[in-house]
Amino acid sequence: MTGLQLLLNVAALASAYALVAIGFVLILNATGAVNFSHGDLVMVGGFAAVSLGAWLKLPGIVLLPILMLGMAALGVAVAVCAYFPLRKRPPESVFISTIAVGIILQNAANLIYGAESRAAPPLLGTGKLRILNSSISQQGLAIILVAAGLILALYLVFTRTQTGRRLRATAQDREVAAAIGIRVDAMVAATFAVATALAGAAGLLLANVFFVTPTDGANYILKAYIAVTIGGWGSIPGAVLGALLIAAFEVIYPSIPLLLPGALGGADAWFSQTVSSIAMDIVILVILVLRPQGLFGEASRQRP
């Protein structure tokens, strides 16, 4: 495996994880609550891509905007059902309601699609490209470009549009935002829409290469939570960095014996996939001990 292949594998995985983590942070900042159904929303995006692909027989890149629109509507529905009725209650109420939403989504997916894995259509194609003497997957490259495009679009909306400014103001302080005339409820609903659309996009990107099953949600919410915690609670750049760290551990750590052949003196067993997970968790603990606020600091709200 060349270094370029390795970097691209990390970048592709990190890109998809970053979309998940960013969506998680957006809702966290806008509401002060953790949306425990976020991982299951990624799963729903994956299955939606499977269904759209089977129905429309179009490549993933064409399905993406349709899927994101549908997921945005689902995000608003989640906000209406699981957040707004409970927003004046203790935060634990929203934890429980979003956990319930996740369970409903998982069981609904199981009922509709069954327990077996499914594959979504690729963004463009499944071939290989030769770049600098390395064989790179077309899908991997497409994932990086699409995720980068979505993150850039999000950045532009948040920084260059009035709606984006209102969304940021709501995330920073809901009471002050309301006091200056911003329709906070509408902004929170819009945040859920954007976050869920990003989750759906991540689901589509991941479901071609790595497939999708109804139980995938737990894995994605865990990754999002870890990424956001080590990156800095409430920090979007931190969430991206956290996602990159997770992807790096999943891909680079087990590859170390390949990058340093013969240099480990028979210690290759310490770089298995199983040890990779343990090593990542140890690094997370070390980061939290040395820098409890995460790598990029922490927003004013308390981390649950």
Binding site: Q5, N9, S117, R118, A119, V251, P254, S255, Q273, T274
Partner: protein, 299 residues
């Protein structure tokens, strides 16, 4: 566990069709023993019939049987001498790995590389690259369906060109549906039976009726589960009225099913045959490359 306890509490059950996952089966063993209720299962995890529980009846060849076929095929037909073993981290994977290692050891072979994969592992490239770097001349897999599909996809993308004999995860049409025929060309797998290959008219009929009923292609698990259920229903048709009646029949009688003939070895293992299926690279429907019959050990 809740579901089984509710079924027992409702009363009237004389047997139960139990889950396939070894982890869940292990949790149900004490309930079956306490309530003297026979459980029929297609779980392959070896441990479920190693607990001296007379109420467990496994209708899928256990890990020792299928891995025997897997290893023999790899050594005798694919001429493997330096295999790599890649297995799942759960009870199914660890049980299979132990059985594979045991069979290899009996042939005087030590795997050149072994790695355990969590079902959530996405990137299979490092594992395959390390197996190749260790000098593996073949791969023996004991993974669930999705992990099997991921690793075979990656192996095809890397043009690994090593003989691969996978676990029964690859025998499921749901797994092969995730792959292109070219990605599984030349790959083989162990399983209890291959209804999709339609080796007999009875199997053909079963496949036709199953497709009409469920709009799905049956896999070996469906066929073995069908045989298991039919053996119980056959016992009921011949007068079994209580859980003990059913247990007696399952413990002592021989049943000619569609997949194979079943007879308990005294420990609840009913299935003692395995097949190796292979894919020709043009279609997702496998052909049966070899049958292996192992007489039940007496206990």
């Amino acid at each position: 566990m809740n579901a089984l306890e509710r079924a027992v509490a409702d009363g009237g059950a004389i047997a139960a069709v139990a889950p396939m996952l070894g982890t869940q089966m292990l949790a149900l063993l004490p309930i079956a023993l306490e309530n003297k209720l026979p459980l029929i299962t297609i779980s392959g995890t070896a441990a479920i019939t190693q607990k001296n529980n007379p109420y467990i009846f496994r209708f899928f060849p256990d890990d020792a049987t299928v891995t025997n076929a897997q290893v023999r095929f790899a050594l005798e037909e694919k001429h493997a001498k330096k295999p790599a073993v890649i297995y799942q981290t759960d009870a199914y994977g660890q049980s299979g790995r132990a059985a594979i290692d045991n069979w290899l050891k009996q042939s005087g072979i030590t795997p050149v590389y072994e790695d355990a994969l969590d079902p959530n592992v996405k990137d299979m490239a490092p594992t395959l690259q390390k197996a190749r770097a260790a000098g593996a001349d073949s791969l023996l897999l004991h993974l669930h369906g999705a992990s099997t599909a991921l690793i075979l996809k990656e192996a095809a993308a890397e043009s690994l060109n090593l003989p691969i004999v996978a676990g029964s995860g690859l025998s499921q049409p749901a797994t092969t549906a995730l792959l292109e025929p070219a990605e599984i060309g030349g790959v083989c797998a162990e399983t209890g039976a291959s209804p999709e290959s339609e080796e007999t008219p009875a199997m053909h009929d079963f496949v036709v009726k199953y497709r009409a009923e469920f709009n799905l292609t049956p896999d070996s698990f469906a066929l073995n589960q069908y045989d298991a259920t039919m053996m119980v229903l056959n016992a009921v048709a011949h007068g079994a009225k209580t859980p003990e009646d059913v247990r007696q029949v399952l413990s002592t009688e021989t049943y000619p099913g569609l997949a194979m003939t079943y007879k308990s070895d005294g420990m609840g293992n009913m299935a003692h045959s395995a097949v190796i299926i292979c894919f020709d690279g043009k279609t997702r429907v496998p052909y049966v490359a070899k049958h292996y019959d192992l007489p039940p050990a007496t206990h």
